[in-house]
Each structure stands twice: as structure tokens, then as C-alpha cells.
């Protein structure tokens, strides 16, 4: 029995500037079950990143209803949204977005420091576990500038999964990587999914998109197709995916 993680009903997003309105999202209906691996694709400017931002509570919708784990997003205040982003969502960005003045360990630990329910020892354990799962435990004291792009993205993935979130959101995670590193990162995501992670990835790269089990195609702010390309049943986990070891390919 799968649990519904995301439910979007008639979501709209309008950007208003001085003299014009831009409809970035129009009438989006989307449901994502726990454990799904979904890719969102489409041409530049079609609204896929905006959809991901709304999904990740980085942005709010202009209209419609968005439920995340049965919580109505529009009823959440700023503090609650921060808490959900911190505990339930892991972000992976195209440009890695590591903090250059922090070491690998500090970067991965950063979201955990915003939680009050963890002791220092627990944080260390979670950071070690996450870094080990992406194969970066040997570079803990390095700064981002001392790492390759692929390594930086692995650290970013470790940061995203360290807090054992319910949902991983990746925005063009291979956009800044060469093909070898891109393949490694995608394999890492595959493994995370294989271990139960719910992943939603935005990409314009068809090869990356096709690794997902469901492909949502967007155009002009609307979903134009939603295809399940894997006949396998969605995995169901009763426990957090990160509790299982994820091996690096």
C-alpha cells in the first residue's frame, strides 16, 4: 500500500512585474506516491523548475491547492515551511550550492544544525552515514573549491539525504557535470530510489529523464503528458530509505 506524498490540484503560479503578468504554471494537477521516481521534463521556460520550487516549498502557488504529506501548503506559516523543508525535503541543485566557506562535513551537517531534536553525536553519525553512502567520507575536511564538480554534487546529495527526508527534489542535478560524473550522479540517485527514496528530478536531458519510472512532460506551464515507463510496482517502505545503506556505483 503506497502513501500519497504529493497532491497538487489546479496549481497556478503567476509572476507579476511592473507592466505584465507571466503565467509560469497553469492548472497543474499532479500526484506523487511515496517511493516514486518522477522526472519532469520540458523545454527551457516551460515552468518545470517553478513547479519544483512550489513542490519544495521554496515558492508558493498563486492559486490551487498543494498537499504535502496531507498538509495543505497554503496553511503553513514561514516557520512551518522551514521545518518541513528541513526535515521532509532534500534539495539537489544544478550548481551544487555548497557553501564555499564550510568544509564538506560542515556543509552536510548544516541542515541538521537547524534541528533541535538532534544531539551532536547523532548529527555526527548522520553526517558520516550520508557521506559514506555517496563515497565522500575521505574528504570531510576539504572545502568545496578543493573538489571536482562530481564530488561537489555528491556532497550536495549527502547533504540532501543526511536528514532522512521523505522527498528528494533535484533540479538539473547533472547540468553542470561532464558525462562521466553525470552518469555517476544519476546512478547514485537510482540507488537511493532503489533503497526507497521518493525522487522528483527536473531535467531537460532525455537520458536522465528516462532513468525515472515516470516522466512528466511540461509545456508553457502545463503538464502535457504523464507517462509511467516502468511496469514494476512502486516500492513501498515502512521505514525511511536512508536507514538502509546505499552503495555507490
Amino acid at each position: 500500500m503506497t502513501r500519497q506524498l504529493i497532491k497538487m490540484d489546479a496549481i497556478k503560479k503567476v509572476f507579476v512585474s511592473d507592466d505584465m503578468e507571466t503565467h509560469a504554471l497553469s492548472n497543474i494537477h499532479l500526484t506523487i506516491q511515496q517511493g516514486e521516481y518522477v522526472s519532469i521534463t520540458g523545454p527551457s521556460g516551460c515552468g518545470k523548475s517553478t513547479l519544483l520550487s512550489v513542490m519544495g516549498l521554496l515558492d508558493s502557488s498563486s492559486a490551487g491547492q498543494y498537499f504535502l504529506s496531507s498538509l495543505l501548503a497554503s496553511e503553513l506559516d514561514s516557520k512551518q515551511r522551514s521545518q518541513i523543508r528541513n526535515k521532509e525535503i532534500g534539495f539537489i541543485f544544478q550548481s551544487f550550492n555548497l557553501i564555499s566557506d564550510m568544509t564538506v562535513r560542515e556543509n552536510v551537517e548544516l541542515p541538521l544544525t537547524y534541528r533541535t531534536d538532534l544531539t551532536k553525536q547523532q548529527r555526527i553519525g548522520m553526517v558520516d552515514e550520508a557521506l559514506q553512502s555517496v563515497g565522500m567520507q575521505h574528504r570531510v575536511n576539504h572545502f568545496p573549491a578543493q573538489l571536482s564538480g562530481g564530488q561537489q554534487q555528491r556532497v550536495a546529495i549527502a547533504r540532501a539525504i543526511a536528514g532522512k527526508p521523505s522527498l528528494l527534489l533535484a533540479d538539473e542535478p547533472t547540468g553542470n557535470l561532464d558525462s562521466k560524473n553525470a552518469a555517476e550522479v544519476m546512478a547514485l540517485l537510482d540507488n537511493l530510489h532503489a533503497n526507497g527514496a521518493t525522487i522528483c528530478i527536473v531535467t531537460h536531458d532525455p537520458r536522465s529523464a528516462q532513468r525515472a519510472h515516470r516522466i512528466v512532460q511540461m509545456m508553457d506551464g502545463q503538464i502535457v503528458s504523464d507517462i509511467s515507463c516502468d511496469s514494476r510496482p512502486l516500492q513501498t517502505l515502512s521505514t525511511g530509505f536512508a536507514r538502509d545503506q546505499v552503495s555507490v556505483v
Binding site: L58, N86, K87, N97, D101, T113, Y114, R159
Partner: protein, 805 residues
């Protein structure tokens, strides 16, 4: 633990940019340093309670006659002591010359004649022996004295067996009963305390002696309540009215505040100026932190995406300003302490009569606590706006690289407003500093009315018991004048009650035939002179004649007045032949009429600052004798070389009569203007700080602003824009900020300097110089701060500028 991570991260950021860190710490050190310094001075001089038990309850009472502050009289003391319920202690004291002599050497001190309860008021126990007790006040009991530590050490060589010994004070045998501790200087730099011994019942009201009144309020009684009660007592006491037509009242206030009232306005203005510098520092650092926060917008956006609550983000960013302000504040406290030591030395070096304040100017624990509060507030002020702005930005756009590090519209506006405030405040401070400098320059160069070089002055005060007014006193002074004139190198010698530059309170005078509403009569300084004074001081005669030998006790009363007084009383007319008389607040009947026989130029008498210089009138010593007189010698060379010969001559005339207040007239002038000189130096320091901060602050903002627009400038140049139009673009923006800053700063300077001018001196057209020069200096500084970073970008090839990140 997360807190430690934030601290560690903030420190790392600061260490990563040592130039930025050093600059911001230096700016905060200056701002905090001057404000802590000024606050400590104001605290030391005005607010800090006397360092005695219950110092916050120690009050001073003044009499008000027609709303003007006057000294209290003995009958006031009796009335207040009998009728007031607000005080647990009311103490009278007076100050008189006390000549201490052991038969060989005589030294003149300012003795305090202390009434019952004087030592109880301070609560300070003697080092040796006892303080004065009530039985000492009873006439006929043995005469006693309590001496100060310095006197005990210097005059008696620290004699451990001093208690019970007899000394001569004012030629009377007095027993030493106590020695006060080293730090006891009350009410001023006094070293001798004698019993007051006066009873109001022995005096008619019109002869009631002038006294000073201290009071200690009962616990829980507010100053306002005590003041109201006092006013009620005076309102219901017609028996205290010497002149029935006058309104009398009284006021009570903290001892320190009441005795420093004259300096309070100046000190407040200086404190305001110090706070201006602190505001400038805050603006500077705040602006730099804002620019930096903007550059870190991406990092902040990442933190937000990872779930950092806004409060946590703000706290994390505040750590940075806390470190900057904390380190700057620590340095500022050290510099302020050093500055206070220098200030003390400044006054000690210049004052001819000892340190001018009753309490040391120093950094106390209380000042350090104040400093810490200021530092924390400053950290909050400088850090909060950048943190709030940075944590509330469009982080989603930043994460998508759309906004990168360019300054947002609001942040840009805040930055521009801060620059305008910087220009305005710098302009204000510099104009006020300029006006004070002009004022001091005028006082130094033309303020005294005569050339005061090569004059030596000293005072003698022959006691009335030995030299009663009349032939004995005149004989003494005539002999002094004759003998000192013979000292080799002395070109001229004379005697006068108060030398030019010396302070004396003005009195009231009524011109014949003129009435004044509410009995507010014209004020003038009264100076008794020997006939040759005008010649000795080279005071030119403008009209009539000077005083001479024909003006004696039996001849008609005559007076020479200054042109300032003549113009004030009889504008457009000759003053010669007109009559004036003195109005005394302590006598029921006015003095005799005196006829004006001559007019001379106005000399600066006493304080070099005040709303208006009071005119002077000169009366013959023979017609209005007084005990203490000043000897004035015009010397051929350095007047300080004549101190010993003068002392020798006076000792020969009367070995028991010491001279005091030795000083060259120039030194006395310097002592008189030391407070103003101090104010000038402080304001010049503030002005320099303000200019440096304005320039560095504006430079920082402009450099950051121009760097962020490097790519845009590259595009403009690539599209064919000439450099001149780019320069015009930025200078126009700076020009708008300059004009807006001046619109704020110049009126503020006018208001602030207006207060200053009212306190210190009269309006003067030369002040316009400051209003013209200061904006010019700021314009040049701001334009340089704009053009230097702009030139750096314009030297870059357009192709490089276009790709600049």
C-alpha cells in the same frame, strides 16, 4: 552546539577577509571610542553621584531673585532648616581666605568655614583625629581646624603628632583636631576646614552673610518633591525678601548638576557630537555589512532552502557584527581610558588653580558597563538591518542564479539613504567644529582688547583685622606699589581688583533717569583700580578723562566705563557727565550715584565664553576700597622670571601676608579658555573622524556599487558610450546624494551651532566661512570617492568588463 558552529563560521568569514575586518573594526573603534570617552566625561563631571555615602541624595540649594540664580544667605539656611521636611541634613558653609603661618612661612589657602553637619554630609571619616563637631561652632570655645592630606604632607611634613598642635590661621591660634584622607577634596580643592560659627540671629536681613547651602534628602524624597517644598517655603516667606519689590524663590538639584550647570550645555553638545560620530560608524559598518550580506545572498538562500528559520539566519549574521563591535569596543574602551588620562593632564597643565573639577575624570566600572551596553546595542543596530534584509530576499531567484550578487532595489535604496545621512552628519559636525575654531581664533587674536604679553599678576589679601579699610590698608597698598615698581626690569606696576582675563561676576547698575521692567537692570563688571591702571595696561582713552589722583574718598564719586556700556546705556549720545549707581541684591538701599568721567574700550573680563560679554566699569580704589587686590607688573622680559623678586618684596613688607594666584597674564588667559580649547580640540577630532568616515564609507559604497555595475559599464562602452558620459552618470548620482545630504546637514548644523553660539559667544559673520568651506571639502571628498573606483573600471578593456563577474 549549533551556536558554536555559527560562532566558528562567523570567525572564519572575518578571518577570510582581513582587510574588511580590520576596516570595520577600526571604524567601530573610532565611533565607540569617542562616544564612550564623551559619555565618561559627562558622567564624571555631571551625572556620577559624589563618591560619598548616599551620593545620589546630596543636593545643592540656590536662591532665585527675580528668577536669577543668586547665592543663598544665612537667613535662608535658618528658614529651610526650620521649615523643610525633605532633608535629613541642611548644611551651610562659606569660603574665605585663610592664611596659614608658622611664623616663618605663610601660605594662603581657600578655607572652608563649615557649618554643623558638613562632614556628616559627606560621611567621610578623618584619617587622623576628628572632624568638626557642634561644640566647635559655639563662639568662645577653643578655635580648631581640620586639615587636608596634601597640606599635612607638604606643610607639616606628614607629622604623625600633628593632632593637638597649634598653628596660626589669619593671625589667630588654632588647634589642629583632624586630618582628612588623601582623596578628600570637598567642596573643591580645599585643604582647610574651620567652624562656620555664624548665627542668623546676630544679623539683620540686609546684612545677612552670603553662604552656600548643601542638603541631603531623606530616603525616598525625590528632587522634584524637595524642590516644590522649597519653592513653597520661599513663596510664603516675605521675611526673606531684602528688597520688597523683588521676587524670591529657590531651587534644589543634585550637587554635581547644580555646580556644573554652566558646563552642562557644552558637555551635552559634545556628547551629541560624539554620538553623531557613533551613528556615522554604525552607518559605515552597517553599509559595509549590507554590501557583504548582499554578496552572500546565495549562501543565505541555500540556508533558507535547507530549512534555516529566519530568526536563526539573523542570529547567525549578527554574530559577525557582534565580533566587529566587540573587538572594536574593547579597543575603544582602552582608547577612551587613555583619552581620559590625556584630558586630565590637559586640564592639570593649563589650569592656574589646580584641577578644575571636584572629581577625577576617569573610566569607572560604571562607564565600562555603559560601554558594554553601547557596544551590544551598536552590534544589534549595525547587524540587524543587513541580516533582516538579506534573510528576507527572493532566495528562490538567487538559487536559480537569476539575481546573483547584484544589489536589490531595496538594499540599494537603503545604501543610498545611509550615504545621504553620512554626508549630512559629517557636514553638521564639521561646520560646528569650524565655527568653534573660528570663535577660539578670534578670542585668542583679538579678544582681550589689550596686548597681554609680559604681564605678571599676583594677588594679596591683607586681613581687615590688621589692615582695616582706610589709611592702614591704603598705606599697605601704596607701599606695595612703590616697592614693586623698583624691581629691576619692571616697566610699570599697578593695582586693580580684577585683571583683564580674570573672572568676576557682573553686578547690576542703574543709569539715572532710566527705569527697567521687573528690576532687570543692566549688568556690568565692577573693577576697582589705582589711578595709573589705564597707563600701565595701555588702555586707550576714547572720551573724557581717566581716573587720577584727584578722585579720592572726599571728592565726587566718579567712574570710567567701557564703550560697550556707554553704547548700551546711552546709544548715540556722549556718556560723559551721566550718572549710574550700583544695585545690590543684598542691600535694601542702592549705592550712591557715580558720574561717568571717561570712556575706554571694552576689555575681555573673565570667561571667554558666554552669551554676551558684560561691559566693565572702573571705579577708583580710593572711593570704593576692598580687601583683596591684584598686583600687575609690566615686565621687560618673560614675566615668570619676576615671580621671586615680587615674592621677596612682598615678604619684606609683611612676612605674614602671602601672595597667591601667581601667573603671567597669558597663562591666566590660557587657563580661562582651557575649557573652550578642550571643546575645540574635541570637535576638531570629531570633525576629522566624521570626514574620514564619510569618505571611507562613501568610497566603500561607491566602489561596491561600481564593481557590481562593471558588466553594465562594459556593455555601455561596447555600445559606444564615451567615458565622459559614464563619469557624468555617476557624478550626477553622487551630486544628488550630496545635495540631499546638505539639505539635511546644513540646517542641523545651524541649529546645533546656534545652541553653541548662544552658550559660548555672539553671532559673527565669519561663521559663514564654515558654512561655505565645509560643503566644498565634502564635495571634493565625495567626488574623489566616486571617481577613483570609477577610473579603475574605466581603465579596464570593455571586453574584460563585459565578462566581469
Amino acid at each position: 552546539m549549533s551556536l558554536l558552529l555559527d560562532i566558528k563560521y562567523s570567525l572564519r568569514i572575518l578571518l577570510k577577509t582581513p582587510g574588511f575586518t580590520a576596516l570595520t573594526i577600526a571604524v567601530m573603534t573610532i565611533g565607540l571610542g569617542v562616544s564612550i570617552f564623551m559619555l565618561s566625561i559627562v558622567n564624571s563631571i555631571v551625572f556620577r553621584p559624589l563618591e560619598f555615602n548616599d551620593g545620589e541624595r546630596l543636593m545643592f540649594i540656590n536662591r532665585l531673585v527675580d528668577n536669577r540664580v543668586q547665592q543663598t544667605i544665612l537667613h535662608d539656611y535658618q528658614k529651610i532648616k526650620t521649615e523643610s521636611q525633605s532633608y535629613e541634613l541642611v548644611v551651610a558653609f562659606g569660603s574665605e581666605t585663610a592664611v596659614l603661618s608658622d611664623g616663618v612661612k605663610s601660605i594662603r589657602y581657600q578655607g572652608i568655614f563649615a557649618g554643623s553637619g558638613f562632614f556628616e554630609y559627606t560621611g567621610v571619616a578623618p584619617l587622623l583625629g576628628r572632624v568638626l563637631i557642634d561644640s566647635d561652632q559655639v563662639a568662645g570655645n577653643p578655635r580648631v581646624v581640620v586639615i587636608g592630606y596634601d597640606l599635612w604632607q607638604n606643610y607639616f611634613g606628614g607629622d604623625e603628632a600633628i593632632i593637638g598642635k597649634t598653628v596660626q590661621i589669619n593671625r589667630q591660634q588654632v588647634e589642629v583636631v583632624g586630618v582628612m584622607p588623601k582623596e578628600f577634596f570637598f567642596p573643591f580643592n580645599n585643604q582647610l576646614w574651620l567652624p562656620f560659627g555664624k548665627d542668623a540671629n546676630n544679623y539683620l536681613l540686609k546684612d545677612s552673610p552670603l553662604i552656600r547651602l548643601l542638603a541631603k534628602t531623606k530616603p525616598g524624597v525625590s528632587i522634584a518633591a524637595a524642590d516644590l517644598e522649597l519653592k513653597t517655603i520661599f513663596a510664603n516667606s516675605p521675611d526673606l525678601r531684602i528688597n520688597p519689590q523683588q521676587n524670591i524663590s529657590a531651587r534644589v538639584d543634585l550637587y554635581k548638576r547644580e555646580t556644573r550647570r554652566g558646563a552642562i550645555n557644552i558637555l551635552y553638545l559634545m556628547l551629541s557630537a560624539g554620538l553623531f560620530v557613533l551613528v556615522l560608524s554604525c552607518i559605515n559598518v552597517g553599509n559595509l555589512l549590507l554590501a557583504r550580506a548582499n554578496m552572500r545572498s546565495k549562501e543565505i538562500a541555500i540556508r533558507v532552502a535547507l530549512g534555516a528559520p529566519r530568526a536563526r539566519l539573523i542570529t547567525q549574521m549578527l554574530w559577525e557584527s557582534l565580533f566587529i563591535c566587540g573587538i572594536g569596543g574593547l579597543l575603544a574602551i582602552l582608547f577612551a581610558g587613555w583619552g581620559l588620562d590625556l584630558t586630565t593632564q590637559f586640564f592639570v597643565d593649563r589650569s592656574t588653580e589646580g584641577f578644575p573639577f571636584s572629581a577625577a575624570i576617569s573610566l569607572k566600572a560604571e562607564d565600562v558597563v555603559n560601554a558594554i551596553v553601547i557596544i551590544l546595542l551598536t552590534a544589534l543596530v549595525t547587524g540587524f538591518i543587513p541580516a533582516w534584509k538579506a534573510s528576507g530576499g527572493n532566495f528562490n531567484a538567487v538559487l536559480k542564479d537569476a539575481a546573483k550578487t547584484s544589489m536589490g532595489k531595496t538594499a540599494g535604496l537603503i545604501s543610498k539613504i545611509l550615504v545621504v545621512i553620512e554626508i549630512g552628519l559629517s557636514c553638521t559636525l564639521m561646520i560646528v567644529a569650524g565655527i568653534i575654531s573660528i570663535l577660539i581664533y578670534q578670542v585668542v587674536t583679538e579678544g582681550y582688547g589689550i596686548d597681554i604679553e609680559n604681564f605678571l599678576t599676583a594677588r594679596v589679601n591683607p586681613p581687615a583685622a590688621i589692615y582695616p579699610q582706610g589709611p592702614a590698608q591704603t598705606g599697605y597698598y601704596d607701599r606695595v606699589l612703590m616697592e614693586v615698581s623698583k624691581i629691576p626690569g619692571v616697566e610699570k606696576a599697578t593695582l586693580m581688583s580684577h585683571v583683564p582675563t580674570e573672572f568676576l561676576p557682573p553686578g547690576s547698575f542703574q543709569p539715572e533717569g532710566q527705569e527697567f521692567p521687573d528690576f532687570v537692570f543692566p549688568q556690568a563688571h565692577l573693577v576697582q583700580v589705582y589711578p595709573n591702571t589705564f597707563e600701565a595696561l595701555a588702555i586707550p582713552l576714547l572720551e573724557g578723562r581717566v581716573l587720577d589722583q584727584r578722585d579720592n574718598l572726599n571728592s565726587p564719586k566718579v567712574v570710567v566705563i567701557s564703550d560697550l556700556f556707554a553704547e548700551k546705556l546711552w546709544p548715540g549720545e556722549s556718556a560723559i557727565g551721566k550718572r549710574i549707581r550700583r544695585i545690590s541684591n543684598t542691600q535694601s538701599a542702592p549705592d550712591e550715584w557715580m558720574t561717568v568721567v571717561g570712556v575706554v574700550p571694552q576689555l575681555l573680563q573673565g570667561s571667554v565664553f558666554g552669551p554676551e560679554q558684560s561691559p566693565t566699569i572702573y571705579v577708583p580704589f580710593s572711593q570704593m576700597p576692598r580687601d583683596a587686590m591684584a598686583i600687575v607688573l609690566k615686565t621687560r622680559s618673560d614675566p615668570n622670571h619676576y615671580q621671586k623678586p615680587l615674592a621677596d618684596v612682598l615678604h619684606k613688607i609683611d612676612p605674614n601676608l602671602p601672595m597667591y594666584r601667581f601667573a603671567a597674564l597669558t597663562a591666566q588667559a590660557e587657563s580661562n579658555r582651557m575649557l573652550l580649547e578642550f571643546v575645540k580640540r574635541i570637535f576638531l577630532l570629531f570633525a576629522v573622524c566624521a570626514l574620514v568616515m564619510a569618505v571611507t564609507g562613501i568610497y566603500g559604497v561607491m566602489a561596491n556599487h561600481i564593481e557590481q555595475r562593471t558588466q553594465e559599464l562594459g556593455i555601455r562602452r561596447a555600445l559606444g558610450s564615451p567615458d565622459s558620459s559614464i563619469v557624468l552618470l555617476f557624478t550626477r548620482q553622487s551630486g544628488i546624494q550630496l545635495i540631499t545630504g546638505f539639505i539635511v546637514g546644513i540646517p542641523l548644523a545651524y541649529f546645533m551651532s546656534g545652541n553653541f553660539i548662544n552658550t559660548i559667544g555672539a553671532e559673527n559673520q565669519f561663521y559663514l566661512l564654515a558654512y561655505l568651506l565645509v560643503p566644498c571639502i565634502i564635495i571634493v571628498a565625495v567626488m574623489l570617492a566616486t571617481l577613483i573606483p570609477l577610473q579603475r573600471v574605466l581603465r579596464m578593456e570593455p571586453a574584460l568588463a563585459v565578462r566581469y563577474e
